[in-house]
């Protein structure tokens, strides 16, 4: 895997989210994928400590379907986002899967309010016949332990 291929995937993922193409975004994930926003920075386990969000593939599909429902009140109107990805590094590569670290700054706008989020992100990517796919995505928000209002955008 060339570093450019990894960056290309992360940028494409960001673009799909920013353009609201959630079904295409979901297609980047493997069937056994997880998407995680831990509550604690050093959290090692999503099963014995609560999370701001921890979705397996099934919950992720429900989430994406909910997001496009006309009466998903918190998403009417939906937020608009701009993802800015930086510091992309391949941390590990065992030939089958890669662990990739990056930073994310995301601007979110909804209902006359703009918010800025910062996060340290880690992707676990798998080589598949269709190219790189996301097996696990972990988003450590800078303000994970703060008092958060509802999150209806995807990082």
């Amino acid at each position: 895997v060339r570093p450019a291929e990894v960056e290309e995937l992360l940028y494409r993922e960001a673009e799909l989210l920013d353009r609201g193409r959630l079904a295409d975004w979901l297609a980047l994930f493997t069937d056994d994928a997880t998407y995680w926003i831990p509550l604690e920075a050093a959290q090692t386990d999503p099963f014995t400590t609560a999370s701001i969000l921890f979705d397996d593939r099934r919950l992720l599909e429900i989430r994406v379907r909910q997001f496009t429902h006309p009466r998903a009140h918190a998403r009417v109107p939906p937020p608009r986002t701009v993802h800015q990805i930086g510091n992309v590094r391949v941390l590990e590569d065992d030939g089958r899967e890669l662990r990739v670290g990056s930073t994310l700054v995301m601007v979110e706008y909804r209902q006359e309010r703009q918010r800025v989020w910062g996060a340290l992100v880690e992707h676990r990517l798998r080589r598949t016949p269709d190219g790189l796919r996301i097996v696990a995505k972990r988003v450590d928000l800078a303000n994970a332990d703060s008092e958060l209002d509802g999150i209806v955008a995807l990082f």
Partner: protein, 440 residues
């Protein structure tokens, strides 16, 4: 229409009628300040659980209306609630959410307090015209009343008022329920604190938690999204979340049948509307077999039937707490401003129960209390929409009429809604609000 609120007793009494309430109760900043004095400044407020201060020297910080307080366990094992303000120059002494310390030292001039609040050291002690160390006048202010019920720590900012037992009344059974479900007869706070905030009045969340009509509308998108999902293998992590979303779409007969009880002092609880074997231990899913066996060792067969037969959804201890004894979740409600409310959600581990049950507790916490939950986010959205709409005064009144006139006396000061979809709990909360706000 009331444009500029006057806050004498007579005008406050005019804000709440038997089946309607004036919007000022949710939007008026002066009334909010008065609530901090008269309601949050008087009532027993839930601060936490003794497992958060298990050893002497353990402490955590909490809020009581506008006060920041430190809850400590002292060397003699007593629990103290101390106003988090240095007796010297008023700086906040403790800025750590939770921790362990022999003493608390103010960061400003180093005044140092024991964990019972006594001043034990100051710099340059000879610089005062009389000794300050050991003088009770220079101790951290102790919150006048502190008491516990089944390990839950309550405090009140005034020295007089009903005893905690009498304040809780029939709601003691909800705390009993949470604790009795533990095979070892004890629970502990575990698994992190989920925190959220919404731009709305604190009453909105307490009114919503026992409102059996809202799920079909507020949560329609997650109900439908869950219904359209193919079932997964039993025991998957997502099971608990999916089942909760589906249950929110229970038919009207189920909600109507669900009991809803109102108690003195504004408290209430709702019976459980779940018929899901994977969520409700009383039902016959094999996953709970080992748990029932462990529970039976302490309680015997009849005791288990009695404890698991207690089916409660949210119990509300007005005005600070909403908890789920059966599902081991507890939320502390903190008013920040007339239009800003913070909620901290705790999970409990049943001591002696199989580990899988705690994992289910965490999965449940994520779907009901996580800031990105597909369920909670829609609740927060409607609170905020309500707050915005209530800010305008073309129409001053909110209607609380569902089930009005149909409340049924149920013994021991309890009243029961005619059906589970009654708004009895909201009328009951506002009646208590009026009592606090107009007491001499």
């Amino acid at each position: 229409m009331i444009r500029a609120m006057t806050l004498d007793v007579r005008s406050i009494k005019g804000l709440v009628e038997s089946d309607r309430v004036h919007r000022a109760v949710y939007t008026d900043p002066a009334l909010f300040e008065l609530e901090l004095d008269r309601l949050f400044g008087r009532a027993w407020l839930l601060l936490g659980h003794t497992s958060q201060v298990a050893r002497p020297g353990d402490f955590f910080t909490a809020r009581m209306g506008r006060e920041s307080v430190v809850v400590t366990r002292h060397t003699d094992d007593t629990i103290h609630v101390l106003v988090n303000r240095c007796a010297h120059r008023g700086s906040r002494v403790c800025d750590t959410v939770r921790g362990h310390a022999r003493q608390l030292t103010c960061p400003y001039h180093g005044w140092t307090y024991a964990t019972d609040g006594a001043l034990c050291a100051v710099p340059l002690p000879d610089g005062y015209d009389r000794p300050v160390v050991g003088d009770p006048e220079h101790a951290l202010t102790r919150v006048p009343r502190v008491d516990t019920y089944r390990g839950f720590i309550f405090a009140s900012l005034v020295p007089e008022g009903p005893l905690l037992d009498s304040f809780l009344g029939p709601l003691r059974a909800s705390f009993d329920d949470l604790v009795e479900r533990a095979p070892d007869g004890e629970v502990e706070v575990a698994g992190g604190v989920l925190k959220h905030v919404y731009r709305g009045n604190w009453k909105l969340v307490l009114e919503n938690h026992n409102d059996a009509v809202h799920p079909a509308f507020v949560h329609v998108s997650s109900i439908i999204a869950a219904r359209e999902q193919a079932p997964a293998a039993d025991g998957a992590y997502s099971d608990i979340a999916v089942r909760q979303m589906l249950q929110n779409g229970a038919p009207w007969e189920v909600w109507e049948r669900t009991g809803l009880w109102a108690a003195p002092h504004g408290h209430s609880w709702m019976g459980d509307y779940h018929d899901d074997t994977r969520l409700v231990a009383a039902l016959d899913h094999p996953v709970f077999a080992e748990y029932r066996r462990l529970l039976e060792r302490r309680l015997g067969r009849e005791g288990v039937a009695r404890v698991l037969g207690e089916l409660r959804w949210n119990s509300i201890v007005y005005p600070s707490c909403s908890f789920m004894s059966q599902f081991r979740q507890l939320r502390i409600i903190q008013p920040v401003a007339v239009d800003r409310t913070v909620v901290h959600a705790y999970s409990f581990r049943l001591k002696g129960a199989p580990e899988q049950m705690f994992r289910d507790t965490i999965a449940f916490a994520n779907v009901v209390n996580g800031a990105a939950s597909p369920v909670l986010t829609d609740d927060l959205e409607v609170y905020e929409r309500a707050q915005q709409a209530l800010g305008a005064g073309a129409d001053d009144w909110l209607y609380l009429g569902r089930g009005h006139g149909g409340d049924v006396a149920d013994g021991g000061g309890l009243r029961r809604g005619r059906t589970g979809t009654s708004e009895i709990h909201i009328r009951n909360q506002l009646a208590a609000w009026l009592e606090y706000m107009t007491a001499e």
